[in-house]
């Protein structure tokens, strides 16, 4: 265990988020048990007001999660000096087994919480709130995830021993390792690029098709392309985008680009990818919810915005991540 200001604030932040989520779940259970949309009793009116408290609590928790995800990476970055041999956040995350798991859970949590917040908004815009039960049930699943995240984070930091000699990006992402990550790093740049560009291209085509046609098959398809694009893009960042950003042929670290040294370029890259994926997933997720007439009306009204968000975010993501590829002096292909 290292007593470090960043770790301290991450742990207290997680506790706070968990507290907020527990209050929200407590209210959620009461709403689940006694919600009766047809009643206009005082009890129902009070419950209706409580739903606003729950949404506010979850909104704040989501906000916290976003900042805490970045703080987590920044902290891993800051403490790498404590580990002999670690040269960036990757080294710190390798320091014990839980590091990468925490990051994964944080990623899942971000998507889950953001989806909850958006679907909650959608439901609140309808006159009959048909999703109340599903929403609060989902909330009860979200809370354990927050708890798990807090617990693993605690395990990770508690298990950190500054003396441990860790490998750093140099060895983890060097092409001769055996993990999935190094498989990605070792993938020939030309193939990786082909995969990446055809995937984002497919996503953009399906997006435009969704904007043009109302066909039901397109939405789930878009969901799939969005999810695939997320994973392939993350792979591409490790495989070749990072190389262009750092202008170094063997530096595959996905975190260094979040540092001031590289103009914080990682933040817009990851934010755009997150938004592109999230809004790409939404129309597909809402497809089964269209059985409720009021939701369908709302979805029809707002879906175009989602599609445009996803489209713009994808384009911005492509633009920023490939800027160096087109205009930089560094050349990767042709060796």
């Amino acid at each position: 265990m290292i007593l470090h200001p960043g770790i301290l604030s991450l742990l207290s932040g997680s506790l706070l988020t968990l507290l907020v989520m527990l209050i929200a779940s407590g209210l959620g259970i009461r709403i689940l048990l006694s919600w009766d949309a047809s009643s206009s009793s005082e009890g129902q009116i009070i419950l209706e007001r409580k739903t606003w408290l729950v949404s506010t609590l979850v909104n704040y928790a989501l906000g916290f999660q976003i900042f805490s995800a970045f703080l987590f990476i920044a902290t891993a970055e800051d403490i790498h000096q404590l580990f002999v041999g670690a040269m960036c956040a990757t080294g710190s995350l390798n320091a014990n087994l839980v590091g990468w798991l925490v990051l994964l859970i944080k990623g899942i949590l971000l998507f889950a919480a953001a989806l909850w917040v958006i679907l909650n908004r959608l439901d609140q815009r309808t006159e009959d709130c048909p999703l109340v039960r599903q929403k609060y049930f989902a909330l009860l699943l979200l809370t354990p995830l927050v708890a798990l995240d807090g617990y693993l984070q605690w395990r990770y930091f508690r298990g950190l021993q500054p003396e441990i000699i860790t490998s750093c990006c140099g060895s983890l992402f060097s092409a001769d390792g055996e993990s999935v990550v190094s498989e990605l790093a070792g993938m020939p740049a030309r193939q990786a690029m082909l995969l990446f560009f055809s995937m984002t291209g497919t996503h953009l085509i399906v997006l435009s098709a969704c904007l043009r046609f109302k066909a039901t098959i397109l939405r789930p398809l878009l969901f799939m392309t969005a999810v695939l694009m997320l994973f392939i893009s993350l792979g591409a960042i490790i495989s070749f985008i990072s190389l262009y950003i750092y202008q170094m042929p063997s530096h595959h670290c996905p975190f260094d680009m979040l540092q001031s040294h590289y103009g914080y370029v990682g933040y817009p890259i990851y934010a755009a990818l997150f938004i592109a994926t999230l809004y790409g997933m939404l129309p597909g997720i809402c497809q089964p919810l269209r059985q409720h007439e009021s939701i369908e009306k709302e979805v029809d009204r707002i879906e175009r915005n989602w599609l445009w968000f996803s489209l713009w975010a994808t384009l911005i993501f492509l633009l920023i991540s490939c800027w160096q590829m087109v205009f930089g002096s560094f050349t990767l292909l042709g060796y």
């Binding site: 047809s38 206009s40 009793s41 005082e42 009116i45 209706e48 007001r49 609140q124 006159e127 709130c129």
Partner: protein, 230 residues
């Protein structure tokens, strides 16, 4: 002509199933047509204000239904009621309910904040309404610096700023002398000629006996005892 507001078998019970249960309204049915001027009269505690707040979508009935232009509003979630309040209703309260430390202009702009209007348009709209009531000179003044009659006019200006169809006024003359009451009646008459529906709760005979009032609904113990056109 289809009615603007229809209420059917309306009941409102406060603190239901509790020792301090109060039945405020009992089985009220009423239809109000667009352009009507209705006075709700009755002694205090007869349910005037409760009925007014139900008509104005400020609260929900315990049972029964309220329809506004054919849309069932009594079952809507609160956020839709708020939306209806700011688009369809203008309220003139007994205590004016102005923010005393805030300028006249800002007070009048209050109902426009939760809209998509730009700030500039909001100011223009509010300025135009203030001009109509000859308040433009004092729009930077704080409400607490104004006289009672001026405050009343600010309250009316605020009620009209979102251009609602229905004006709801609760004992509007309670704090006015007879002279100012006359002026108020004049304003209301003007609004009615513009096609606004006006619902006034009052026990001031100067109001409910005035020629402006077309219909008088009397309440007692939460029930309608008389409903007549005059």
């Amino acid at each position: 002509m289809s009615p603007l507001l229809t209420i059917t078998n309306l009941n409102k019970i406060y603190h239901r199933h509790q020792p301090d249960e109060v039945i405020a309204l009992r089985d009220i049915s009423l239809k109000i047509t667009a352009g009507e001027v209705v006075a709700l009269t009755g002694p205090s505690g007869s349910g005037k204000t409760t009925l007014l707040s139900l008509l104005g979508c400020m609260s929900k009935p315990t049972s029964g239904s309220i329809q506004l232009r054919g849309r069932l509003v009594s079952k809507l979630p609160e956020r839709f009621l708020a939306q209806i309040r700011r688009t369809s209703f203008g309220f003139v309260f007994q205590q004016y309910n102005l923010l005393r430390d805030v300028s006249v202009l800002e007070n009048v702009m209050l109902p426009l904040y939760p809209s998509n209007q730009s700030f500039r348009v909001m100011k223009k709209t509010a300025g135009a309404v203030l001009e109509r009531f000859e308040l433009q000179k004092m729009m930077r003044k704080k409400v607490k610096q104004l006289s009672g009659g001026e405050q009343q006019r600010v309250a009316i200006a605020r009620a009209l700023v979102a251009n609602p169809d229905i004006i709801i006024a609760d004992e509007p003359t309670a704090h006015l002398d007879s002279n100012l009451s006359e002026i108020l009646l004049g304003i209301l008459a003007n609004l009615n000629t513009e096609g606004k529906t006006i619902i006034i709760a009052t026990h001031d005979p100067a109001i409910y006996q005035s020629p402006l009032i077309q219909r008088r609904v009397s309440l007692r113990h939460g029930e309608i005892v008389e409903d007549k056109n005059q």
